[in-house]
Symmetry: C2
Subunit: 144 residues, 2 copies
């Protein structure tokens, strides 16, 4: 039976279990692994970002999805600035261990543009079009 977007919430893993998963991940030469975030109940792919070992460990320990920001070179606890947090429902590892799929419960919007999903651009009528409009005002999410 294929895995479905509707996840069964896994138990909060203990430190030994967490280390079992972390040790199975093949981080790249920069110490990073791509992580796809998918809304657990609707199946919507929200975003893709990167984790290092510390971000993955924190995600598993806290249940709050935490990435590594390559631009800021810092841990990025999703939603700390915007309030748009991702609660971890289940974390899946792929066959060769070099990509993660986080089934999450996304508060509000995942995209910094205020859209639910980052994947809103596609070709329509020969042009690169925006398929969705923002649900939230980025200035309100990030401004001060």
């Amino acid at each position: 039976m294929p895995s479905t977007p509707t996840a069964i919430t896994a138990e909060a893993p203990d430190p030994i279990a967490r280390s079992r998963l972390i040790e199975a991940v093949r981080f790249d030469s920069h110490g990073l692994v791509p992580c796809i975030a998918q809304q657990h109940d609707t199946g919507e792919v929200l975003m893709m970002a990167w984790m290092n070992r510390a971000a993955l460990a924190e995600t598993l320990a806290t249940g709050r999805v935490t990435y590594w920001s390559r631009s800021r070179e810092a841990l990025w606890r999703k939603g700390d600035t915007s309030g748009q947090v991702q609660h971890l429902v289940d974390l899946r590892l792929d066959c060769d261990g070099d990509t993660l799929l986080a089934l999450v419960d996304q508060t509000g919007v995942a995209c910094h543009t205020g859209r639910r999903s980052c994947f809103y651009r596609a070709l329509r009528a020969g042009e690169l079009a925006e398929l969705t409009q923002p649900d939230a005002d980025p200035e309100q999410l990030y401004g001060r």
Copy 2:
């Protein structure tokens, strides 16, 4: 309205439209961009692999999803060996242009282990468990 896993099939893009999308992609320092493959109607995340410019151009021109195999350093027209092809339904680009989401119609299984999805490993009862069993025999898919 957020984008949903149920895609509207886009028209087959002409060469000018294809180049508009390709030019909007920010390939990494290796000339690659990660591409998530999602079954268009069920929302299931099947796999993640990489495309270079040629793979992306071929995907858009043919409607058959084609990746760049980093291990074989060659174009990888998904399903050429196994028959498990991916027909492109729609290709989405994310907000900052560095990740693709391919909505596909997957024939058979996406994973080289014979499973529908590559994301079949997760923590269960403190162990890294396999959530699904193969639907197809890899020997039959790849053997000779």
